[in-house]
Amino acid sequence: MKNIIEINSLNKWYGDFHALKNINLNVKEGEIIVICGPSGSGKSTLIRCINFLEKFQKGKIIVDGTRLSDNVKKIRQLRSQVSMVFQHFNLFPHLSILDNLTLAPIWVHHQPKQQAVDKSLQLLERVGIRDQAEKYPNQLSGGQQQRVAIARALSTSPKIMLFDEPTSALDPEMIAEVLDVMVELAKEGMTMLCVTHEMGFAKKVADRIIFMDEGQIIEQNQPDMFFNQPESERLQLFLEQILG
Protein backbone atom coordinates (compact mmCIF):
# COMPACT_ATOMS: atom_id res chain seq x y z
CA MET A 1 0.00 0.00 0.00
CA LYS A 2 1.20 3.52 -0.66
CA ASN A 3 2.62 5.92 1.88
CA ILE A 4 0.13 8.61 2.84
CA ILE A 5 2.69 10.41 5.02
CA GLU A 6 6.40 10.63 4.29
CA ILE A 7 8.67 12.43 6.70
CA ASN A 8 12.29 12.89 5.66
CA SER A 9 15.08 14.08 7.98
CA LEU A 10 12.78 16.44 9.80
CA ASN A 11 14.45 18.93 12.13
CA LYS A 12 12.73 21.47 14.30
CA TRP A 13 14.10 24.07 16.68
CA TYR A 14 12.37 26.25 19.25
CA GLY A 15 14.85 29.11 19.30
CA ASP A 16 18.11 27.34 20.13
CA PHE A 17 16.42 24.24 21.46
CA HIS A 18 16.61 21.28 19.07
CA ALA A 19 13.16 19.72 19.58
CA LEU A 20 13.09 17.21 16.69
CA LYS A 21 16.29 15.61 15.48
CA ASN A 22 16.38 14.01 12.08
CA ILE A 23 13.02 12.27 12.12
CA ASN A 24 12.27 9.79 9.33
CA LEU A 25 8.87 8.17 9.25
CA ASN A 26 6.61 6.71 6.58
CA VAL A 27 2.97 5.95 7.29
CA LYS A 28 0.88 3.72 5.04
CA GLU A 29 -2.76 4.35 4.28
CA GLY A 30 -4.93 2.84 7.00
CA GLU A 31 -2.00 2.30 9.34
CA ILE A 32 -2.49 2.82 13.08
CA ILE A 33 0.57 4.26 14.77
CA VAL A 34 0.97 4.82 18.48
CA ILE A 35 3.67 7.22 19.64
CA CYS A 36 4.93 7.12 23.20
CA GLY A 37 7.86 8.41 25.18
CA PRO A 38 8.68 10.50 28.21
CA SER A 39 7.22 13.95 28.57
CA GLY A 40 9.15 16.59 26.64
CA SER A 41 10.46 14.06 24.12
CA GLY A 42 8.86 15.85 21.16
CA LYS A 43 5.77 13.68 20.52
CA SER A 44 3.37 16.62 20.34
CA THR A 45 5.79 18.63 18.28
CA LEU A 46 6.07 15.80 15.76
CA ILE A 47 2.37 15.32 15.15
CA ARG A 48 1.74 19.06 15.18
CA CYS A 49 4.25 19.38 12.34
CA ILE A 50 2.16 16.97 10.27
CA ASN A 51 -0.78 19.40 10.06
CA PHE A 52 1.56 22.39 10.12
CA LEU A 53 0.43 23.77 13.46
CA GLU A 54 4.19 23.97 14.01
CA LYS A 55 6.61 25.15 11.36
CA PHE A 56 9.85 23.27 10.91
CA GLN A 57 13.21 24.46 9.67
CA LYS A 58 14.76 21.44 7.93
CA GLY A 59 13.62 18.33 6.14
CA LYS A 60 10.38 17.62 4.35
CA ILE A 61 6.94 16.24 5.02
CA ILE A 62 4.75 14.94 2.23
CA VAL A 63 1.10 14.32 3.07
CA ASP A 64 -1.03 12.57 0.47
CA GLY A 65 1.32 13.63 -2.31
CA THR A 66 1.55 17.30 -1.26
CA ARG A 67 4.72 18.69 0.22
CA LEU A 68 4.11 20.93 3.23
CA SER A 69 5.25 24.51 2.75
CA ASP A 70 4.30 28.00 3.80
CA ASN A 71 1.63 28.25 1.11
CA VAL A 72 -1.49 29.29 3.02
CA LYS A 73 -3.96 27.83 0.51
CA LYS A 74 -2.22 24.46 0.49
CA ILE A 75 -2.11 24.37 4.26
CA ARG A 76 -5.83 24.87 4.51
CA GLN A 77 -6.41 22.12 1.97
CA LEU A 78 -4.11 19.92 3.99
CA ARG A 79 -6.06 20.62 7.15
CA SER A 80 -9.24 19.22 5.75
CA GLN A 81 -7.32 16.00 5.03
CA VAL A 82 -5.60 15.85 8.41
CA SER A 83 -7.67 16.36 11.55
CA MET A 84 -6.45 16.75 15.07
CA VAL A 85 -7.83 15.83 18.48
CA PHE A 86 -6.28 17.72 21.40
CA GLN A 87 -5.55 16.75 24.96
CA HIS A 88 -7.83 19.49 26.29
CA PHE A 89 -10.56 19.02 23.65
CA ASN A 90 -10.48 22.70 22.62
CA LEU A 91 -14.17 22.74 21.77
CA PHE A 92 -15.60 26.17 21.01
CA PRO A 93 -17.39 27.09 24.25
CA HIS A 94 -19.67 29.73 22.73
CA LEU A 95 -21.14 27.34 20.16
CA SER A 96 -23.55 24.47 20.69
CA ILE A 97 -22.26 20.93 20.11
CA LEU A 98 -23.98 20.87 16.74
CA ASP A 99 -22.52 24.24 15.74
CA ASN A 100 -19.06 23.03 16.77
CA LEU A 101 -19.45 20.22 14.24
CA THR A 102 -21.00 22.16 11.37
CA LEU A 103 -18.54 25.07 11.50
CA ALA A 104 -15.90 23.61 9.17
CA PRO A 105 -18.31 21.91 6.73
CA ILE A 106 -20.27 25.14 6.28
CA TRP A 107 -17.45 27.69 6.22
CA VAL A 108 -14.51 25.73 4.86
CA HIS A 109 -16.24 23.22 2.59
CA HIS A 110 -19.24 25.37 1.69
CA GLN A 111 -21.73 22.59 2.24
CA PRO A 112 -25.41 23.47 2.34
CA LYS A 113 -26.48 23.92 5.93
CA GLN A 114 -28.99 21.07 6.02
CA GLN A 115 -26.45 18.63 4.62
CA ALA A 116 -23.88 19.72 7.21
CA VAL A 117 -26.41 19.32 10.02
CA ASP A 118 -27.48 15.87 8.84
CA LYS A 119 -23.92 14.66 8.60
CA SER A 120 -23.00 16.14 11.98
CA LEU A 121 -25.93 14.40 13.64
CA GLN A 122 -24.77 11.12 12.08
CA LEU A 123 -21.29 11.70 13.50
CA LEU A 124 -22.74 12.44 16.93
CA GLU A 125 -24.73 9.24 16.66
CA ARG A 126 -21.52 7.40 15.88
CA VAL A 127 -19.75 8.69 18.99
CA GLY A 128 -22.89 8.04 21.04
CA ILE A 129 -24.05 11.55 21.99
CA ARG A 130 -26.66 12.40 19.42
CA ASP A 131 -29.04 13.51 22.19
CA GLN A 132 -26.65 16.25 23.40
CA ALA A 133 -26.54 18.11 20.08
CA GLU A 134 -28.22 21.29 21.37
CA LYS A 135 -26.14 21.60 24.54
CA TYR A 136 -22.99 23.64 25.06
CA PRO A 137 -19.57 22.06 25.70
CA ASN A 138 -19.42 23.03 29.36
CA GLN A 139 -22.63 21.10 29.99
CA LEU A 140 -20.97 17.80 29.05
CA SER A 141 -18.58 15.56 30.96
CA GLY A 142 -14.93 15.38 29.92
CA GLY A 143 -15.42 12.05 28.16
CA GLN A 144 -18.41 13.38 26.24
CA GLN A 145 -16.49 16.53 25.29
CA GLN A 146 -13.62 14.50 23.91
CA ARG A 147 -16.04 12.38 21.89
CA VAL A 148 -17.53 15.58 20.50
CA ALA A 149 -14.00 16.71 19.65
CA ILE A 150 -13.45 13.46 17.75
CA ALA A 151 -16.73 13.95 15.90
CA ARG A 152 -15.70 17.52 15.07
CA ALA A 153 -12.38 16.26 13.75
CA LEU A 154 -14.29 13.79 11.56
CA SER A 155 -16.64 16.48 10.24
CA THR A 156 -14.24 17.42 7.45
CA SER A 157 -14.04 13.77 6.27
CA PRO A 158 -10.28 13.59 6.85
CA LYS A 159 -7.98 10.83 5.60
CA ILE A 160 -5.71 11.08 8.60
CA MET A 161 -6.47 11.61 12.29
CA LEU A 162 -3.90 12.89 14.76
CA PHE A 163 -4.49 12.37 18.48
CA ASP A 164 -2.39 14.20 21.07
CA GLU A 165 -2.88 12.41 24.40
CA PRO A 166 -6.66 12.36 23.97
CA THR A 167 -7.31 10.62 27.30
CA SER A 168 -4.72 12.11 29.62
CA ALA A 169 -6.92 15.00 30.79
CA LEU A 170 -9.83 12.67 31.57
CA ASP A 171 -11.01 11.14 34.82
CA PRO A 172 -10.17 7.41 34.79
CA GLU A 173 -13.77 6.27 34.47
CA MET A 174 -14.16 8.23 31.23
CA ILE A 175 -11.10 6.95 29.42
CA ALA A 176 -12.74 3.79 28.13
CA GLU A 177 -15.60 5.55 26.34
CA VAL A 178 -13.12 7.65 24.36
CA LEU A 179 -10.82 4.72 23.57
CA ASP A 180 -13.84 2.72 22.35
CA VAL A 181 -14.58 5.40 19.79
CA MET A 182 -10.94 5.38 18.69
CA VAL A 183 -10.93 1.60 18.34
CA GLU A 184 -14.03 1.79 16.16
CA LEU A 185 -12.31 4.36 13.96
CA ALA A 186 -9.24 2.17 13.68
CA LYS A 187 -11.34 -0.80 12.60
CA GLU A 188 -12.98 1.30 9.89
CA GLY A 189 -9.60 1.81 8.25
CA MET A 190 -8.76 5.39 9.23
CA THR A 191 -5.09 6.31 9.16
CA MET A 192 -4.26 7.28 12.74
CA LEU A 193 -1.29 8.68 14.64
CA CYS A 194 -1.94 8.60 18.36
CA VAL A 195 0.28 10.00 21.03
CA THR A 196 -0.90 8.04 24.06
CA HIS A 197 0.29 6.04 27.01
CA GLU A 198 -2.73 3.74 26.95
CA MET A 199 -0.78 0.58 26.26
CA GLY A 200 -3.90 -1.59 26.24
CA PHE A 201 -5.16 0.45 23.32
CA ALA A 202 -1.75 0.17 21.63
CA LYS A 203 -1.67 -3.63 21.95
CA LYS A 204 -5.19 -3.93 20.64
CA VAL A 205 -5.11 -1.78 17.49
CA ALA A 206 -1.61 -0.46 16.73
CA ASP A 207 0.18 -1.68 13.64
CA ARG A 208 3.34 -0.04 14.88
CA ILE A 209 4.46 1.60 18.11
CA ILE A 210 7.07 4.33 18.07
CA PHE A 211 9.19 5.25 21.05
CA MET A 212 10.61 8.77 21.17
CA ASP A 213 13.12 10.35 23.49
CA GLU A 214 14.92 13.68 23.37
CA GLY A 215 13.54 14.58 19.97
CA GLN A 216 14.50 11.33 18.30
CA ILE A 217 12.75 8.13 17.28
CA ILE A 218 14.62 5.58 19.37
CA GLU A 219 12.80 2.43 18.42
CA GLN A 220 9.75 1.27 16.50
CA ASN A 221 8.14 -2.09 16.16
CA GLN A 222 4.90 -4.01 15.95
CA PRO A 223 3.19 -4.32 19.34
CA ASP A 224 4.25 -7.78 20.53
CA MET A 225 7.90 -7.23 19.59
CA PHE A 226 7.74 -3.74 21.05
CA PHE A 227 6.59 -4.92 24.44
CA ASN A 228 8.32 -8.30 24.61
CA GLN A 229 11.70 -7.62 23.04
CA PRO A 230 12.58 -3.98 23.50
CA GLU A 231 16.08 -3.42 22.17
CA SER A 232 17.24 -0.11 23.62
CA GLU A 233 17.84 0.39 27.30
CA ARG A 234 15.83 3.58 27.33
CA LEU A 235 12.73 1.81 26.04
CA GLN A 236 13.19 -1.01 28.56
CA LEU A 237 13.35 1.58 31.34
CA PHE A 238 10.32 3.43 29.97
CA LEU A 239 8.25 0.26 29.70
CA GLU A 240 9.19 -0.74 33.24
CA GLN A 241 7.98 2.62 34.51
CA ILE A 242 4.79 2.73 32.53
CA LEU A 243 3.72 -0.89 32.88
CA GLY A 244 4.80 -0.90 36.54
Binding site: L53, F86, N90, L91, A104, V108, N138
Partner: protein
Protein backbone atom coordinates in the same frame (compact mmCIF):
# COMPACT_ATOMS: atom_id res chain seq x y z
CA UNK B 1 -38.17 15.95 38.77
CA UNK B 2 -40.31 14.29 41.40
CA UNK B 3 -37.21 13.02 43.16
CA UNK B 4 -36.61 16.40 44.72
CA UNK B 5 -40.06 16.67 46.22
CA UNK B 6 -39.21 14.08 48.84
CA UNK B 7 -36.73 16.48 50.44
CA UNK B 8 -37.75 17.73 53.85
CA UNK B 9 -38.61 21.41 53.85
CA UNK B 10 -36.68 23.10 56.63
CA UNK B 11 -36.98 26.70 57.66
CA UNK B 12 -33.83 28.51 58.66
CA UNK B 13 -33.42 29.07 62.43
CA UNK B 14 -35.15 32.19 63.66
CA UNK B 15 -32.00 34.09 64.66
CA UNK B 16 -30.71 34.31 61.10
CA UNK B 17 -33.75 36.05 59.67
CA UNK B 18 -35.71 39.15 60.57
CA UNK B 19 -34.72 42.76 60.73
CA UNK B 20 -32.36 42.50 63.68
CA UNK B 21 -30.37 39.70 62.16
CA UNK B 22 -30.16 41.64 58.92
CA UNK B 23 -29.01 44.81 60.73
CA UNK B 24 -26.44 42.85 62.63
CA UNK B 25 -25.05 41.10 59.58
CA UNK B 26 -24.95 44.14 57.30
CA UNK B 27 -24.54 47.25 59.42
CA UNK B 28 -23.04 46.28 62.78
CA UNK B 29 -20.87 43.28 62.02
CA UNK B 30 -17.87 44.88 63.72
CA UNK B 31 -17.08 47.91 65.86
CA UNK B 32 -15.66 49.76 62.87
CA UNK B 33 -18.67 49.14 60.64
CA UNK B 34 -20.93 50.09 63.54
CA UNK B 35 -19.19 53.46 63.93
CA UNK B 36 -19.36 53.94 60.18
CA UNK B 37 -23.06 53.15 60.11
CA UNK B 38 -23.82 55.63 62.89
CA UNK B 39 -21.81 58.44 61.29
CA UNK B 40 -23.37 57.92 57.88
CA UNK B 41 -26.81 57.93 59.48
CA UNK B 42 -25.97 61.21 61.21
CA UNK B 43 -24.77 62.77 57.94
CA UNK B 44 -27.97 61.71 56.22
CA UNK B 45 -29.95 63.18 59.10
CA UNK B 46 -28.13 66.48 58.59
CA UNK B 47 -28.39 66.65 54.83
CA UNK B 48 -31.56 64.86 53.73
CA UNK B 49 -34.24 67.05 55.32
CA UNK B 50 -32.86 70.35 53.93
CA UNK B 51 -32.45 68.69 50.53
CA UNK B 52 -36.00 67.40 50.56
CA UNK B 53 -37.25 70.81 51.64
CA UNK B 54 -35.37 72.48 48.83
CA UNK B 55 -36.26 69.98 46.12
CA UNK B 56 -39.85 69.21 47.07
CA UNK B 57 -41.61 70.85 49.98
CA UNK B 58 -40.46 74.44 49.45
CA UNK B 59 -40.22 74.24 45.66
CA UNK B 60 -42.22 76.14 43.06
CA UNK B 61 -43.50 74.13 40.14
CA UNK B 62 -45.87 76.43 38.26
CA UNK B 63 -44.80 80.01 37.74
CA UNK B 64 -44.02 81.99 34.62
CA UNK B 65 -40.83 83.71 35.69
CA UNK B 66 -38.05 83.84 38.19
CA UNK B 67 -39.62 86.56 40.29
CA UNK B 68 -42.77 84.52 40.90
CA UNK B 69 -40.65 81.77 42.44
CA UNK B 70 -41.16 83.23 45.88
CA UNK B 71 -40.81 80.19 48.09
CA UNK B 72 -37.46 79.30 49.65
CA UNK B 73 -36.81 76.15 47.63
CA UNK B 74 -36.07 75.18 44.07
CA UNK B 75 -37.77 76.83 41.12
CA UNK B 76 -38.62 73.80 38.98
CA UNK B 77 -40.93 75.96 36.91
CA UNK B 78 -37.78 77.07 35.12
CA UNK B 79 -36.85 73.52 34.16
CA UNK B 80 -40.41 72.78 33.15
CA UNK B 81 -40.58 75.83 30.89
CA UNK B 82 -37.18 75.13 29.34
CA UNK B 83 -37.65 71.38 29.03
CA UNK B 84 -37.82 71.46 25.22
CA UNK B 85 -34.56 73.35 25.08
CA UNK B 86 -32.92 70.78 27.35
CA UNK B 87 -34.12 67.89 25.24
CA UNK B 88 -34.20 69.17 21.67
CA UNK B 89 -31.91 72.20 21.62
CA UNK B 90 -32.86 74.57 18.78
CA UNK B 91 -34.54 71.85 16.77
CA UNK B 92 -37.76 73.27 15.24
CA UNK B 93 -40.72 72.39 17.45
CA UNK B 94 -42.88 71.16 14.56
CA UNK B 95 -40.23 68.49 13.86
CA UNK B 96 -39.83 67.11 17.39
CA UNK B 97 -41.66 64.00 16.23
CA UNK B 98 -38.64 63.12 14.07
CA UNK B 99 -36.38 63.03 17.11
CA UNK B 100 -38.97 61.10 19.08
CA UNK B 101 -39.40 58.57 16.31
CA UNK B 102 -35.63 58.06 15.97
CA UNK B 103 -35.27 57.33 19.69
CA UNK B 104 -38.38 55.18 19.81
CA UNK B 105 -36.94 53.07 16.99
CA UNK B 106 -33.68 52.65 18.89
CA UNK B 107 -35.49 51.55 22.03
CA UNK B 108 -37.59 49.19 19.98
CA UNK B 109 -34.48 47.54 18.52
CA UNK B 110 -32.91 47.16 21.97
CA UNK B 111 -36.10 45.63 23.35
CA UNK B 112 -36.36 43.37 20.32
CA UNK B 113 -32.84 42.04 20.88
CA UNK B 114 -33.90 40.61 24.22
CA UNK B 115 -36.72 38.66 22.68
CA UNK B 116 -34.66 37.37 19.82
CA UNK B 117 -32.05 35.20 21.43
CA UNK B 118 -31.60 31.82 19.92
CA UNK B 119 -33.85 32.40 16.95
CA UNK B 120 -32.14 32.23 13.61
CA UNK B 121 -34.43 34.56 11.62
CA UNK B 122 -34.59 37.09 14.40
CA UNK B 123 -30.83 37.15 14.56
CA UNK B 124 -30.78 38.15 10.90
CA UNK B 125 -33.45 40.76 11.57
CA UNK B 126 -31.30 42.31 14.28
CA UNK B 127 -28.23 42.46 12.07
CA UNK B 128 -30.33 44.11 9.39
CA UNK B 129 -31.79 46.57 11.90
CA UNK B 130 -28.31 47.42 13.12
CA UNK B 131 -27.09 48.12 9.62
CA UNK B 132 -30.17 50.09 8.57
CA UNK B 133 -30.74 52.09 11.73
CA UNK B 134 -27.93 54.64 11.34
CA UNK B 135 -29.23 55.62 7.90
CA UNK B 136 -32.84 55.80 9.02
CA UNK B 137 -31.89 57.84 12.09
CA UNK B 138 -29.76 60.15 9.99
CA UNK B 139 -32.56 60.83 7.52
CA UNK B 140 -35.03 61.37 10.36
CA UNK B 141 -32.81 63.81 12.22
CA UNK B 142 -31.14 65.59 9.32
CA UNK B 143 -33.68 65.33 6.55
CA UNK B 144 -33.76 64.38 2.89
CA UNK B 145 -36.10 61.92 1.14
CA UNK B 146 -38.89 64.49 1.34
CA UNK B 147 -38.17 65.55 4.90
CA UNK B 148 -37.14 69.15 5.42
CA UNK B 149 -33.39 69.51 6.07
CA UNK B 150 -32.54 70.61 9.59
CA UNK B 151 -28.92 71.74 9.74
CA UNK B 152 -26.77 70.35 12.51
CA UNK B 153 -26.22 73.78 14.11
CA UNK B 154 -29.87 73.57 15.15
CA UNK B 155 -29.30 70.29 16.95
CA UNK B 156 -28.68 70.50 20.65
CA UNK B 157 -29.54 69.44 24.16
CA UNK B 158 -30.00 65.83 25.15
CA UNK B 159 -30.60 64.92 21.52
CA UNK B 160 -27.14 66.10 20.58
CA UNK B 161 -25.57 64.44 23.62
CA UNK B 162 -27.08 61.11 22.68
CA UNK B 163 -26.25 61.47 18.98
CA UNK B 164 -22.61 62.25 19.79
CA UNK B 165 -22.33 59.40 22.28
CA UNK B 166 -24.13 56.89 20.09
CA UNK B 167 -22.12 57.69 16.96
CA UNK B 168 -18.91 57.61 19.00
CA UNK B 169 -19.84 54.25 20.50
CA UNK B 170 -21.01 52.59 17.30
CA UNK B 171 -18.35 53.93 14.94
CA UNK B 172 -15.44 53.37 17.32
CA UNK B 173 -16.31 49.72 17.80
CA UNK B 174 -15.28 48.23 14.44
CA UNK B 175 -12.30 50.59 14.33
CA UNK B 176 -11.26 49.43 17.80
CA UNK B 177 -11.50 45.78 16.76
CA UNK B 178 -9.29 46.43 13.74
CA UNK B 179 -6.73 48.26 15.87
CA UNK B 180 -6.72 45.47 18.46
CA UNK B 181 -6.12 42.88 15.75
CA UNK B 182 -3.52 45.18 14.15
CA UNK B 183 -1.63 45.39 17.41
CA UNK B 184 -1.36 41.58 17.46
CA UNK B 185 -0.62 41.26 13.76
CA UNK B 186 2.42 39.38 12.51
CA UNK B 187 3.05 42.16 9.98
CA UNK B 188 5.46 44.65 11.49
CA UNK B 189 4.17 47.79 9.76
CA UNK B 190 0.57 47.16 10.76
CA UNK B 191 1.61 46.41 14.30
CA UNK B 192 3.78 49.51 14.51
CA UNK B 193 1.01 51.72 13.15
CA UNK B 194 -1.53 50.32 15.60
CA UNK B 195 0.77 50.69 18.59
CA UNK B 196 1.72 54.27 17.67
CA UNK B 197 -1.88 55.24 17.07
CA UNK B 198 -3.20 53.72 20.29
CA UNK B 199 -0.43 55.07 22.47
CA UNK B 200 -0.57 58.52 20.91
CA UNK B 201 -4.32 58.89 21.37
CA UNK B 202 -4.26 57.51 24.88
CA UNK B 203 -1.57 59.99 25.80
CA UNK B 204 -3.69 63.00 24.82
CA UNK B 205 -6.86 64.30 26.50
CA UNK B 206 -10.12 64.33 24.53
CA UNK B 207 -10.24 68.12 24.65
CA UNK B 208 -7.03 68.29 22.65
CA UNK B 209 -8.34 65.80 20.12
CA UNK B 210 -11.53 67.82 19.76
CA UNK B 211 -9.57 71.01 19.22
CA UNK B 212 -7.37 69.31 16.67
CA UNK B 213 -10.42 67.88 14.91
CA UNK B 214 -12.06 71.29 14.68
CA UNK B 215 -8.94 73.24 13.77
CA UNK B 216 -6.73 70.84 11.85
CA UNK B 217 -9.29 68.72 9.97
CA UNK B 218 -10.56 71.74 7.95
CA UNK B 219 -7.02 72.26 6.63
CA UNK B 220 -7.39 69.02 4.68
CA UNK B 221 -10.55 70.21 2.97
CA UNK B 222 -11.11 73.07 0.56
CA UNK B 223 -12.99 76.19 1.59
CA UNK B 224 -16.24 75.15 -0.13
CA UNK B 225 -16.30 71.68 1.37
CA UNK B 226 -16.40 73.30 4.81
CA UNK B 227 -16.85 70.22 6.93
CA UNK B 228 -19.72 70.32 9.33
CA UNK B 229 -18.84 71.28 12.91
CA UNK B 230 -20.72 68.32 14.35
CA UNK B 231 -19.10 65.93 11.88
CA UNK B 232 -15.66 67.15 12.93
CA UNK B 233 -16.45 66.52 16.58
CA UNK B 234 -17.83 63.09 15.74
CA UNK B 235 -14.67 62.16 13.84
CA UNK B 236 -12.53 63.34 16.73
CA UNK B 237 -14.54 61.42 19.32
CA UNK B 238 -14.59 58.26 17.22
CA UNK B 239 -10.84 58.32 16.67
CA UNK B 240 -10.37 58.93 20.39
CA UNK B 241 -12.69 56.19 21.57
CA UNK B 242 -11.33 53.62 19.10
CA UNK B 243 -7.96 53.62 20.85
CA UNK B 244 -9.54 52.80 24.20
CA UNK B 245 -11.83 50.14 22.78
CA UNK B 246 -8.82 48.61 21.03
CA UNK B 247 -7.01 48.18 24.33
CA UNK B 248 -10.06 46.71 26.03
CA UNK B 249 -10.55 44.21 23.21
CA UNK B 250 -6.87 43.34 23.18
CA UNK B 251 -7.24 42.33 26.80
CA UNK B 252 -10.13 40.07 25.79
CA UNK B 253 -8.13 38.56 22.92
CA UNK B 254 -5.28 37.70 25.26
CA UNK B 255 -7.69 35.95 27.60
CA UNK B 256 -8.82 33.50 24.89
CA UNK B 257 -6.82 30.27 25.38
CA UNK B 258 -4.29 29.39 22.65
CA UNK B 259 -6.07 26.06 22.23
CA UNK B 260 -8.95 27.95 20.65
CA UNK B 261 -6.67 29.47 18.01
CA UNK B 262 -5.13 26.06 17.32
CA UNK B 263 -8.47 24.29 17.06
CA UNK B 264 -9.74 26.94 14.66
CA UNK B 265 -6.57 26.55 12.56
CA UNK B 266 -6.78 22.79 12.70
CA UNK B 267 -10.27 22.61 11.19
CA UNK B 268 -9.08 24.80 8.32
CA UNK B 269 -10.69 28.18 9.02
CA UNK B 270 -8.94 31.13 7.39
CA UNK B 271 -7.85 34.17 9.39
CA UNK B 272 -11.06 36.16 9.02
CA UNK B 273 -13.25 33.14 9.80
CA UNK B 274 -11.10 32.19 12.76
CA UNK B 275 -11.37 35.67 14.22
CA UNK B 276 -15.03 36.37 13.50
CA UNK B 277 -16.47 32.93 14.25
CA UNK B 278 -14.27 31.66 17.06
CA UNK B 279 -11.98 34.19 18.70
CA UNK B 280 -13.82 37.53 18.71
CA UNK B 281 -17.12 36.20 20.08
CA UNK B 282 -15.22 34.89 23.08
CA UNK B 283 -12.94 37.91 23.42
CA UNK B 284 -15.87 40.34 23.24
CA UNK B 285 -17.83 38.38 25.79
CA UNK B 286 -14.91 38.57 28.19
CA UNK B 287 -14.57 42.30 27.51
CA UNK B 288 -18.21 43.34 27.97
CA UNK B 289 -17.76 44.96 31.40
CA UNK B 290 -14.73 46.93 30.25
CA UNK B 291 -16.32 47.90 26.94
CA UNK B 292 -19.35 49.30 28.75
CA UNK B 293 -17.10 51.02 31.28
CA UNK B 294 -15.30 52.71 28.44
CA UNK B 295 -18.60 53.72 26.81
CA UNK B 296 -19.77 55.24 30.08
CA UNK B 297 -16.57 57.25 30.29
CA UNK B 298 -17.16 58.42 26.72
CA UNK B 299 -20.73 59.41 27.49
CA UNK B 300 -19.49 61.66 30.28
CA UNK B 301 -16.76 63.07 28.05
CA UNK B 302 -19.27 64.15 25.41
CA UNK B 303 -20.00 67.21 27.57
CA UNK B 304 -16.68 68.53 26.27
CA UNK B 305 -18.12 69.21 22.81
CA UNK B 306 -19.15 72.59 24.20
CA UNK B 307 -15.51 73.54 23.64
CA UNK B 308 -15.91 73.32 19.88
CA UNK B 309 -19.18 75.23 19.83
CA UNK B 310 -21.76 72.48 20.12
CA UNK B 311 -24.55 72.82 22.67
CA UNK B 312 -25.18 69.55 24.44
CA UNK B 313 -27.54 69.09 27.36
CA UNK B 314 -25.08 70.52 29.88
CA UNK B 315 -24.45 73.61 27.76
CA UNK B 316 -28.20 74.25 27.79
CA UNK B 317 -28.03 75.12 31.48
CA UNK B 318 -25.83 78.14 30.91
CA UNK B 319 -27.83 79.15 27.88
CA UNK B 320 -31.29 78.93 29.42
CA UNK B 321 -30.40 80.50 32.75
CA UNK B 322 -29.15 83.59 30.95
CA UNK B 323 -32.76 84.17 29.88
CA UNK B 324 -33.72 87.37 31.74
CA UNK B 325 -36.90 85.75 33.05
CA UNK B 326 -34.90 83.02 34.74
CA UNK B 327 -31.62 84.64 35.69
CA UNK B 328 -29.55 82.76 38.23
CA UNK B 329 -31.36 79.44 38.08
CA UNK B 330 -28.26 77.40 37.17
CA UNK B 331 -28.53 75.28 40.29
CA UNK B 332 -31.87 73.80 39.28
CA UNK B 333 -30.54 73.31 35.75
CA UNK B 334 -27.42 71.48 36.85
CA UNK B 335 -29.32 69.29 39.30
CA UNK B 336 -31.78 68.39 36.57
CA UNK B 337 -29.07 67.58 34.01
CA UNK B 338 -27.14 65.58 36.60
CA UNK B 339 -30.26 63.55 37.25
CA UNK B 340 -30.82 62.86 33.55
CA UNK B 341 -27.21 61.86 32.95
CA UNK B 342 -27.23 59.67 36.04
CA UNK B 343 -30.36 57.85 34.88
CA UNK B 344 -28.82 57.18 31.46
CA UNK B 345 -25.44 56.06 32.80
CA UNK B 346 -26.99 53.92 35.50
CA UNK B 347 -29.20 52.19 32.94
CA UNK B 348 -26.15 51.52 30.77
CA UNK B 349 -24.30 49.94 33.63
CA UNK B 350 -27.36 47.87 34.66
CA UNK B 351 -27.79 46.76 31.08
CA UNK B 352 -24.18 45.60 30.92
CA UNK B 353 -24.55 43.61 34.16
CA UNK B 354 -27.60 42.05 32.63
CA UNK B 355 -25.75 41.16 29.41
CA UNK B 356 -22.91 39.64 31.37
CA UNK B 357 -25.22 37.49 33.42
CA UNK B 358 -27.15 36.34 30.40
CA UNK B 359 -24.01 35.36 28.53
CA UNK B 360 -22.48 33.61 31.49
CA UNK B 361 -25.55 31.50 32.24
CA UNK B 362 -26.14 30.65 28.63
CA UNK B 363 -22.73 29.18 27.97
CA UNK B 364 -19.72 29.55 30.13
CA UNK B 365 -16.18 29.07 28.90
Amino acid sequence: MSVFKAEIQQKPPIASVGIFAWLRANLFSSLFSGVLTVSVAYLLYLSLPPLANWALFNADFVTSSNTECTRQGACWAYVIEKIDLFIYGFYPAESYWRVQLAFALALFIIAFMRLARGRQWRFKAIILAFLMYPFVAFVLLYGGFGLEVIETHQWGGLTLTIVVAAVGIIASFPLGILLALGRQSKMKIIRLFSVLYIEFIRGVPLITILFMASVILPLFFTEEMNVDKLLRALIGITLFQAAYIAEVIRGGLQAVPTGQFEAADAIGLNFIQKMSLVILPQALKISIPNIVGSFIALFKDTTLVLIVGLFDVLAMVGLSSSDENWLGRETEGYVFVALILWIILYSMSKYSKNLERRFSTEHKI
